[in-house]
């Protein structure tokens, strides 16, 4: 892995994020306008100050017109990007590199997804015409493959394993209850989570992230310009993105207890940021908890827990809001909701709030370095993004 990184060369100087949830009264264009104008206001800039845009959406529109039309962008570059569920992070990565290169001074990354208009349960992805042989598995089923494999490898009986998964969902709902923009703002008792209707055994509906509408946006500039726009920017320490060779469904060497893509992107990001002990150095993390077993495995892949040790950390509250390393303090995909193209930027929005002391009832004490992790695909066949950000240079 040989990415050189852009540590401390780019700063986020403004962000916006809509409430996530069932926006029956808003289309993707409304959500984009709301997130963009909140970000302009946050950075104290005029729309004309933005030189270029990167729009992330998986299926709520094609081309830059999806953004330029509702925002009436005046003949500027708008690039639509897509990288499955990591789409929002991908738009941020592109915008950061654009300003770092010097090609533009001010760029906006914005992501949106309008899922609730489909009329279907869960996420639906259109496939290109094919030979009818690819497995037609739903996302919860694909991620549920992790559970029996993890339980078996580390000797958890299924009941104990279910306790661990339940506690992850419980924590994320507890955090979301302290977040006015979250889709679900209620704590949920463990029993209700545990006994929720089965979707993909052992996963119940309460092990799944919320199907949601929403948008989020960030304005990025070169770090040396950051203070022209705001007093307390946050700085990009690392951006890593990898697409894997999809070995999982092909190779018996893959054991469904890890995401090799996440391991690779974390290693790359830590090298860029100079992180050597993530469990100690990271103050908070927003990770891709699309389903509860995903979050469990991510703790280990990101180096927060030792192999086979994440479930104990979960049960001991290590990742709780009051724990040593709070994970998904904003409620995560589970409670904040998962409008695909917006989620990566929503994670960054929590970094923005926490590092600036604006997270209200869930505010952590003096966070200095945060991590966001976003993935798209399925175990053994995915793309993974890891960022590290901080509120200080150096």
């Amino acid at each position: 892995m040989a990415s050189k990184g852009i540590k401390d060369r780019v700063a986020i100087v403004g962000m916006g994020c809509t409430k996530f949830g069932e926006h029956w009264d808003k289309g993707a264009e409304d959500l984009l306008v709301e997130a963009a104008y909140e970000a302009y206001g946050s950075a104290g800039i005029d729309p004309n100050d933005v030189d270029a845009y990167w729009l992330g959406t998986m299926g709520s529109g094609v081309s830059g017109l999806t953004l330029s039309e509702p925002l009436k962008i005046q003949y500027k570059p708008v690039t639509r990007v897509e990288n499955m569920c990591a789409t929002g992070s991908e738009s941020l990565r592109q915008a950061c590199y654009a300003v770092a290169s010097g090609a533009f001074d001010v760029a906006m990354a914005i992501g949106v997804e309008k899922l609730k208009d489909s009329g279907f349960s869960g996420l639906v992805v259109a496939n290109p015409p094919n030979d009818g042989t690819p497995a037609c598995m739903t996302p919860p089923a694909l991620f549920s493959l992790l559970a029996p494999a993890y339980f078996k490898k580390y000797g958890l009986d299924p009941e104990k394993g279910k306790d661990v998964l339940t506690r992850i969902a419980w924590k994320n709902h507890r955090n979301g209850a302290r977040n006015p923009k979250a889709q679900f703002q209620k704590e949920v008792p463990m029993e209700a989570i545990r006994n929720s209707p089965k979707i993909a055994d052992p996963l119940g509906i309460m092990d799944c992230s919320g199907v949601s509408d929403g948008a989020a946006a960030a304005i990025v500039v070169r770090a040396e310009d950051a203070h022209k726009y705001c007093k307390n920017p946050i700085y990009i320490k690392a951006l890593s993105f990898v697409a894997g060779p999809a070995e999982g469904p092909l190779s018996p060497e893959y054991d469904f207890t890890t995401f090799p893509e996440v391991v690779a992107s974390a290693r790359d990001a830590y090298a860029q940021a100079g992180v050597t002990n993530p469990r100690e150095q990271i103050s908070l993390a927003e990770v891709h908890d699309c389903f509860t077993p995903t979050e469990l495995v991510l703790y280990e892949d990101l180096g927060f827990s030792k192999r086979g040790g994440a479930w104990q950390d979960v049960m001991e509250g290590f990742f709780d809001l009051e724990g040593k390393l709070p994970v998904n303090p904003d409620g995560g995909l589970k409670s904040f909701g998962h409008p695909i193209g917006a989620s990566g930027l929503r994670m960054m929005y929590e970094m923005w709030l926490q590092m600036r002391g604006e997270a209200g009832p869930r505010q952590l004490k003096n966070p200095r370095m945060g991590l966001t992790h976003n993935l798209g695909g399925q175990p053994g066949r995915c793309v993974s993004f890891v960022s590290v950000v901080g509120n200080q240079i150096g």
Binding site: F120, V124, N127, G132, T133, C136, M137, P148, A200, P252
Partner: protein
């Protein structure tokens, strides 16, 4: 004359108890149970199961023709035999024919194939399958069954030689179904019994025995198949056959499997037949066909891959409600999920060997088997150094699995398994013929050809894993 070189048979895993039908509909129950093709099976997929087994026990056979016999072909236009041949990995250079229209289509196809082999047409394969569908409350719903049998005919190394055959074709109205109709009509039973089945059986059996110069008392086994068990029973009585020599009609365990049935009954008696035994096979339907087989010495060393008895024993129940859903007799609320996409013709043709034959690839550089076939090796990343590598007959073990209650299925939940094959290779595929609470990591599975779904009139066939039968 030519004869049978190899055979295979197939009885689907699911059984419907006749009492379960009667309990719901309030109609008189008949005894026993019937075999039911699962929601993902049809005559093509079952024929493939039987033919794959028949080919396994005919290693040297060079098959030059294939006849698929059925009364329930999945396609009215489009050669069903082409599908069967592709899934059984027969070469492209064969003549392929669908034989249909009557339950007699099966035995007629066998005689045709035998004559073709005798005339020097090379090995001739016959795959017979049926999925008998009767309207609720009707007799056929209970008496019908689903199953398949397949034969390879040739001139050398035969296990049973065809000594004589006879055919009779008459035009009369007994059972019929026009395009677009799901259920067959039938004329009053007494008419067929007295005017068709009875006289036809008597005539055809006398004729074939005369041709073979075999006296009725010299027959070791009598395989008599009729759409109606009474017809067979009456014929057997009239011709004074020793009941001990009459082959099991499988009525209590499988049901009458249409065009496959005479053949299926024959595959059930062949394993215990001794060299020199004479076997009479006869069936009626729009006339009659009959043959006399003489069991050859090679039969003593022949073992089918799976015996009918073993498949009759390997079973799991289906409720009458699920049966009605599987056959789409009972409409249900559609899922709040999109309908599956119709598979596209160009990618299917490009992937013919993979999709239908489950042929993956094996890297010449590092020896790693992989599926679907790859161009860049997953292990050593060598480029375009792949040889074809078939997976259909390989067993595997479950590495992990998922029980999907959200996916659309006629038999929810959908079970998916990550299968690691003996000898290498991994595949993520659907499981079938299994119960969700019985799946476990490490379970042994085998591959089976199934119809995954039908979209816009296109049947999407592909492979699934099932617990070993």
């Amino acid at each position: 004359m030519a004869g049978i070189v190899s055979y295979g048979s197939y009885v689907p895993y699911r059984r419907l108890k006749r009492a379960a039908i009667a309990a719901v509909l309030g109609v008189p129950a008949t005894r026993g149970e019937r075999a039911v093709a699962s929601f993902d099976e049809d005559s093509v997929s079952m024929a493939v199961e039987a033919l794959r087994d028949a080919l396994k026990t005919a290693p040297g056979a060079e098959v030059r023709s294939l006849i698929f016999g059925t009364t329930t072909a999945p396609y009215l236009e489009k050669l069903n035999a082409a599908l069967v041949g592709a899934a059984a990995r027969l070469p492209a250079e064969i003549r392929a024919i669908d034989s249909t229209g009557s339950i007699r289509a099966g035995l007629s196809a066998m005689l045709q194939a035998a004559e073709s082999a005798a005339a020097g047409g090379g090995h001739a394969a016959v795959a017979l399958a049926d999925c008998r569908l009767g309207a609720p409350e009707g007799k056929l719903e209970q008496s019908g069954g689903d199953g398949a049998a397949a034969f390879i005919f040739g001139r050398d190394n035969v296990i049973a030689e065809i000594e004589a055959s006879a055919s009779l074709t008459r035009e009369y109205l007994d059972s019929w179904r026009t395009p677009g109709e799901r259920f067959s009509h039938s004329w009053e039973e007494r008419f067929a019994l007295t005017q068709a089945y009875g006289p036809f059986f008597r005539k055809i059996i006398r004729e074939v025995l005369e041709k073979a110069k075999v006296a009725p008392g010299d027959l070791a086994k009598i395989v008599l198949d009729a759409p109606n068990q009474r017809a067979a029973d009456e014929a057997l009585r009239e011709l004074k056959f020793d009941p001990a020599r009459v082959a099991d009609s499988l009525a209590l365990t499988v049901g009458q499997t249409g065009a496959a049935h005479a053949a299926l009954m024959l595959t059930a008696v062949l394993p215990s037949a001794k060299p020199g035994d004479r076997i009479l096979v006869a069936t009626v339907g729009d006339g009659a066909d009959a043959m006399v087989l003489k069991v050859a010495p090679a039969n003593a060393n022949f073992r089918p891959v799976r015996s009918v008895g073993r498949m009759v024993e390997s079973k799991g129940d289906v409720s009458y409600a699920n049966y009605l859903k599987w056959r789409e007799i009972l409409p249900t609320e559609p899922p709040r999920r999109p309908d599956p996409d119709r598979p596209a013709a160009p990618p299917m043709m490009r992937a013919e060997k993979w999709k239908f034959g489950l042929i993956g690839s094996k890297c010449r550089a590092c020896g790693t088997p992989q599926l679907p076939p790859q161009r860049v090796c997953v292990k050593c990343r060598a480029f375009d150094k792949m040889d074809p590598y078939p997976f259909a007959d390989r067993h595997g073990r479950i590495a992990t699995y998922a029980i999907d209650r959200l996916a659309y299925s006629l038999n929810p939940p959908t079970i998916n398994a990550v299968v690691d094959y003996e000898g290498g290779g991994r595949f993520l595929c659907e499981m079938t013929d299994c119960e969700p609470d019985k799946v476990a990591i490490g379970d042994e599975v085998e591959m089976t050809f199934r119809r995954l779904f039908t979209a816009d009139g296109v049947h999407n066939y592909f492979w699934k894993a099932r617990p070993r039968r």
